[in-house]
């Protein structure tokens, strides 16, 4: 295709802006990676050393040793897995009731649940802390998981998805004597895989990164998750920026890997939730 000089200039400008944006987004990540492998004497050099003279993996070992890293890791993995699986089970069941089953007050209940989505989560923090303290659950996994064990938003999304599956499947399944529960897990859930997967992925990322609630609901070192541990370590680390960056990188690497592998689902999930408004 022939382009006029004006079009060519516009194209060039477009790429220039897009690349500038990419540099702006990537810079902190690149700096984090480079700092994490720098020898200590190059970390504070001015003008900054971009490429380390030698790669010092020792910083990662130091990060492992400075904090009970594997305890934090175990807590993060356990809490993330528990929150995500609880959410999937509760939301799939509830969405099924809204999409497929009949009961009195269905619309009213649905409306009530949607209304709770308007409330900012921060307002729930204090009463939830009090509730869990009275149950004696503070500083346990139960306290870290329970408030997040379901999500109205996911129920809403799944209900829309389930409702789009033709009724004829349900009728046929019932004729064959298939129970609701079996129909849900052998027909509806597999047919809704993209929605279920993107809900699960977004939940995994959110729980892994969450900070305020794990900070509030725990009070011992043994129960800290990675972000909580990192925040504490950052005030102790002083100028050990290479160790600090090594630690940070180990926290963000899993979510970035998950994201890069499952981009399609995550992006689809996000653009869907946006459109649902």
């Amino acid at each position: 295709m022939n382009q006029t000089p004006g079009q060519k200039a516009a194209k060039l400008l477009t790429y220039a802006i897009l690349i500038a944006g990419a540099v702006f987004i990537l810079l902190p990540f690149v700096w984090m990676i480079l700092t994490s492998v720098k020898p200590s004497k190059e970390v504070l050099k001015m003008p900054p050393v971009w490429i380390p003279s030698k790669i010092q993996w020792q910083n990662y070992v130091k990060a492992f040793k400075a904090v009970p890293f594997f305890t934090y890791l175990k807590n993060s993995i356990l809490v993330t897995v528990m929150i995500t699986s609880c959410e999937l089970i509760t939301t799939i069941l509830a969405a099924y009731a809204f999409a497929q089953l009949e009961f009195r007050g269905k619309n009213l209940l649905f409306l009530l649940l949607v209304a709770t989505m308007m409330v900012p989560g921060e307002i729930l923090t204090i009463p939830n802390f009090v509730t869990l303290a009275r149950l004696g659950w503070i500083n346990t996994y139960k306290a870290m998981v329970a408030p997040w064990a379901t999500s109205v938003f996911s129920i809403f999304l799944l209900r829309q998805q389930f409702a789009s599956i033709p009724q004829s499947y349900y009728k046929a399944a019932r004729m064959d004597g298939c129970s609701d529960l079996r129909y849900l897990f052998t027909v509806m859930v597999p047919m809704s895989r993209p929605t279920v997967v993107s809900i699960a992925l977004l939940k995994i990322i959110n729980s892994w990164n969450s900070y305020l609630w794990p900070l509030i609901s725990t009070n011992s070192r043994e129960m800290r998750t990675l972000p909580v541990g990192l925040a504490y370590f950052s005030t102790e680390a002083g100028t050990d920026y290479n160790t600090l960056m090594a630690f940070s990188l180990m926290i963000i690497a899993p979510t970035i890997i998950v994201y890069l592998l499952t981009q399609k689902y995550i992006i689809q999930g996000v653009s869907k939730t946006g459109l649902k408004g």
């Binding site: 897009l18 987004i25 204090i126 939830n128 509730t131 990164n209 990192l230 459109l275």
Partner: protein, 310 residues
């Protein structure tokens, strides 16, 4: 209507009604205990003036918490800081994201690559991100000042100069949410009927005019959705302040946000009732902003209707 012959006979309907509640039970239990109950509770707690939270006994009620809140200069400052941040960060980050979305939506190569890069901050821990930014913004050894020095800019005390707090939080808001907003905008852009653009091209409309007369009006609902979610997000600013400023609310409290205030009252002072009252005020503000934005959209729609019907 979805009537099902199987569900029509009375006994089956009866059984199904209870079955539905069984399916709902786990989710409803969690929602009731951890979402609906706390909404009511936090409203009530705002009025507790003397109580024992572990025994859940209240000895005195009153408006003291709200009265103290109104008198507290810190709370006023928290509201001012948060409002200012929302007023600057939300429009700017929406405009920047719209620019990138429009550029990505044009005929370019590597669109997917750019999109993936922009989305990266969205999946990364805000704690880790804040720590890296704090390191890059370090006055003496930070990368940002080193880069600026190449352009002859003098050292800036990013993290200790109170005037720099707002710009930093705005940049962080743009950086963090760019990918998310671009994706939402791209979804909106792809929903615009290409025939509008074909017709406009035939009429010889310039790119600028096409943007302001087709793209922007058609994106109305998307802009509306993003402005609500972005403003609400900004009102929840906490993690980045708490981590970047080493648990302080920024120099001269310039980073004191509403959520920081609530957290401080609750976690450091253990004044639960004061924190509950503050969080209830946060809820009211968020609600008011949402309603206001709904109202503005209705007004704009009304105005457009009148204009086009004329």
């Amino acid at each position: 209507m979805r009537t099902n012959r199987l569900t029509d006979s009375p006994p089956v309907r009866f059984a199904l009604r209870y079955k539905a509640w069984l399916y709902l039970l786990p989710a409803l239990l969690v929602i009731t205990v951890f979402q609906i109950y706390p909404i009511c509770k936090s409203f009530l707690m705002g009025f507790y003036t003397d109580f024992d939270y572990l025994k859940d006994e209240v000895y005195a009620w009153g408006f003291d918490n709200f009265r103290n809140l109104m008198r507290d200069a810190d709370f006023a400052l928290a509201i001012k800081n948060t409002m200012r941040l929302a007023l600057v960060a939300a429009p700017l980050s929406i405009a920047v994201s719209l620019l990138f979305a429009v550029l990505l939506n044009s005929d370019i190569r590597c669109r997917k690559v750019f999109q993936s890069i922009y989305f990266l901050p969205f999946v990364t821990s805000m704690v880790a991100v804040s720590i890296v930014w704090a390191w890059m913004l370090n006055k003496d050894f930070g990368l940002v000042n080193a880069i600026l020095k190449v352009f002859g800019v003098k050292k800036i005390a990013w993290l200790t100069d109170p005037n720099m707090t707002l710009p930093i939080l705005v940049v962080l808001c743009i950086w963090k949410g760019l990918g998310y907003r671009v994706i939402i905008f791209l979804a909106g852009l792809q929903g615009i009927d290409p025939r509008y653009y074909q017709a406009a091209r035939l009429d010889g409309a310039r790119a600028m005019n096409r943007f302001f007369h087709i793209t922007l009006p058609q994106l109305g609902p998307t802009v509306f959705f993003l402005s609500i979610t972005t403003v609400i997000d900004v009102f929840k600013t906490f993690d980045e302040v708490y981590v970047m400023y080493a648990k302080e609310p920024g120099p001269l409290k310039s980073g004191l946000t509403i959520v920081y205030y609530i957290f401080d009252k609750f976690y450091h002072n253990w004044s639960f009732a004061a924190a509950a009252a503050a969080s209830f005020v946060l809820f009211l503000i968020v609600l008011a902003i949402t309603l206001l934005q709904f109202g503005v959209v209705r007004l704009v729609a009304l105005y457009d209707e009148r204009r086009t019907s004329r």
